[in-house]
């Protein structure tokens, strides 16, 4: 854990409310992106980001760094908030994020995100939730495997393995015309 992060947590636990601001500043954009890539909707992402930090604030006093990293803890709160958000609305399914819903499901999405994801969306949907998360953290959130391993609670090596296998899966799933399209684009 970053030493400034540690200091901020200890400071907060010792009664300095402003210490939370340092943690917030360090993580707010990252948490928002993490949630946005699971919801594709700005208002929803803002709402869940707020809830994540509110819950973190309420729980930080009893947070124990020996049991895990702060980032793992914070991202877990964010992930659970996303899960809760969709499960409340679609209680009949086992849903982790918007990727587990079919594209025809009646959920709010930003048009821009929908357009951007047009080509790749259905292939990403076929991946296991955990595998998809690692791909997104690596490619969209641009995190190192070390950071990813802290967030998903796996070793760096197994994150790398999952990433590699997921790409293989994608390669298998993507139809030849689409791959040709990519290759033509590259020429």
């Amino acid at each position: 854990m970053d030493s400034n992060e540690k200091k901020a947590i200890i400071g907060f636990q010792n009664g300095d409310p402003d210490a939370f601001a340092a943690l917030y500043d360090a993580y707010v954009s990252r948490i928002y992106s993490f949630i946005y890539f699971k919801t594709h909707h700005r208002e929803t992402a803002e709402d869940l980001t707020s809830k994540t930090f509110m819950k973190a604030l309420d729980g930080l006093e009893s947070f124990d760094a020996k049991k895990g990293s702060f980032s793992n803890w914070l991202y877990s709160i964010a992930r659970n908030n996303v899960i809760d958000f969709y499960r409340i609305r679609k209680s009949e399914y086992d849903i982790n994020d918007i990727w587990d819903l079919s594209s025809s499901d009646d959920v709010e999405r930003d048009i821009e995100a929908k357009q951007k994801l047009e080509k790749i969306e259905k292939y990403l949907r076929k991946l296991k939730s955990e595998h998809r998360e690692i791909i997104i953290l690596r490619v969209w959130n641009e995190m190192s495997y070390k950071e990813i391993s802290e967030i998903v609670g796996k070793s760096e090596a197994s994150c790398k393995m999952i990433f590699s296998r997921s790409l293989k899966e994608l390669k298998k799933e993507m139809p030849l015309p689409l791959l040709l399209y990519f290759i033509l684009l590259r020429l």
Partner: protein
């Protein structure tokens, strides 16, 4: 090949060297993944707002109320919740949530005892970057707040009409006397002007609004399915006490305000017998019925304390007897003085120790109405969430410009008749620099926003007789609010 893609591929080859043979295909997939990345740009306003809310909450975390965990009853499987029970629980939850978030919680106040056992919660002010509230150009400033406070105030505008003279003459009607007022500064030189002032804005608590909405969202209400509504926010909720002399409480998370009124159904109606034969003279209140200030203040103070309304950001209460100003003295000699049923006590708001005034230059704060007839509080208004942000703005440093603006009527200007029958000078005294509540209309959000702007309040020294209600002229100290003082003409106002 892009370095980012190259790095991703190298990581893959570390795991599975055989993938190298498929580099072209894999690289294209990665490339497409990158290309498909949705834009997740976080809104700066949201970041600032949430930061303020969190810091406020952090500063008061010792009295957490376990609200979040209660929400789960509306979570997964919520459709099984009996709708009636859901609604009732939701209502029970709303009060603590609001009061906790609004820093008015009696529980919290009980912990933070201050002077003489009174509650002592401090307002929070978060300093943010300069000019953070956007521009305050003259065209953006609303000429009146939503409550209508401080509107105009001069010139007999209730009946005057600049173009009506000719029509009146033609109709043979007597010409209505119209007066133009000319403001003349009679004070001393204004010195020691600062080149920067802090403007304050109340932080809106949008999280609270969504949390409250979520309380209902999971519940399948008896009349409709709340789940079908999207992006719900709670703007206001009302509660009423079912008891004699009970109250109605209106919470408005939209603007962070609370107002308390008498529940009309539970208070006696002294005028009920009047419907048949008119009110007997004995029913009307008399000057002697008004209690002494000490008694009125004691009733108001007790009410605030009983209901845990925090007044630590406010000055001491004072009884507003200004409704008597219109009567000649001595008051005891006047036969027809109308005494209202209630008299107000004002607890003036202070932000960082500075007094706050409304846009007409009158003190602003919590108003507690005390029923003269029943010696009970009949209402409390203007109770606001005290979480502010402050941002620096360039101030007007030219005293001549400030005086010129004041002489043109200040913030709300002065209506000028084309063919006024007379002109009267209104003298302005030495100004004081205070915080004044000013509204700006945000075209994008399509709503007004409230700001507390350092402003010069010029007292009117010689109030003209007749329809002239102003007591002050207000001039904002923020330079851009004044525009170009030389361009200000009465016609613009």
């Amino acid at each position: 090949m892009d370095k980012k893609i190259q790095k991703i591929l190298e990581d893959i080859y570390d795991i599975d060297e055989s993938m190298r043979a498929r580099e072209a295909e894999i690289a294209k997939i990665v490339e497409e993944l990158i290309r498909s990345k949705p834009i997740a740009k976080i809104d700066d306003d949201f970041v600032r707002r949430l930061r303020s809310e969190l810091l406020l909450r952090a500063s008061g975390r010792e009295t957490k109320i376990a609200v979040q965990s209660n929400f789960s009853i509306f979570g997964a499987g919520s459709k099984l919740v009996y709708s009636f029970m859901g609604a009732m629980i939701a209502v029970i939850l709303l009060v603590p949530i609001f009061f906790y978030r609004a820093d008015l919680s009696p529980r919290r106040l009980a912990i933070e005892e201050g002077n003489n056992g009174r509650t002592a919660l401090n307002a929070s002010v978060t300093k943010i970057s300069d000019n953070a509230f956007g521009s305050f150009l003259p065209g953006d400033i609303q000429k009146a707040g939503p409550s209508g406070l401080g509107v105009g105030g001069g010139g007999g505008s209730a009946t005057g009409n600049a173009t009506g003279d000719a029509a009146q003459k033609q109709a043979g009607m007597p010409i209505y006397e119209t007066t133009n007022y000319r403001y003349v500064y009679k004070g001393r030189d204004i010195a020691s002007l600062s080149d920067n002032v802090e403007v304050y804005a109340r932080v809106k608590n949008d999280t609270l609004r969504r949390d409250l909405a979520d309380t209902f969202k999971g519940a399948n209400m008896a009349l409709l399915d709340m789940n079908k509504f999207e992006n719900l926010n709670v703007n206001s909720v009302s509660f009423s006490e079912d008891r004699d002399f009970g109250y109605e409480v209106n919470l408005s998370p939209l603007d962070g305000s609370t107002n308390i009124y008498m529940n009309w159904l539970k208070w006696p109606d002294p005028y009920a017998p009047c419907a048949q034969a008119g009110c007997p003279e004995s029913m009307y209140l008399k000057l002697a019925d008004i209690p002494e200030d000490a008694e009125i203040l004691s009733i108001a103070d007790d009410f605030l304390e009983t209901y845990g309304i925090n007044v630590s950001s406010y000055g001491k209460g004072s009884v507003l007897r200004n409704f008597l100003d219109q009567y000649p003295r001595p008051l005891e000699a006047q036969a027809d003085i109308f005494i209202p049923d209630s008299i107000s006590v004002l607890y003036p708001l202070k932000i960082e120790g500075k007094n706050v005034y409304d846009s007409s230059g009158e003190p602003d704060g919590i108003f507690v109405d005390v029923s003269i007839r029943y010696k009970k509080v009949s209402g409390a208004r203007n109770i606001y969430y005290q979480n502010f942000q402050s941002s620096g703005y360039a101030a007007e440093t030219d005293a001549k410009s400030i005086i010129a603006y004041a002489e043109k009527g200040g913030l709300y200007g002065e209506y000028v008749y084309e063919n006024a029958t007379k002109t009267q000078d209104v003298e302005l005294g030495d100004p004081s620099l205070e915080l004044v509540k000013i509204w700006r209309y945000d075209n994008d959000k399509r709503m007004g926003e409230e700001f507390y702007v350092p402003s010069f309040i010029f007292p009117i020294l010689n109030k003209p007789e007749g329809f002239f209600y102003r007591k002050n002229v207000v001039v904002p100290a923020v330079k851009e609010m004044l525009g170009n003082a030389s361009d200000i003409s009465s016609a613009d106002k």
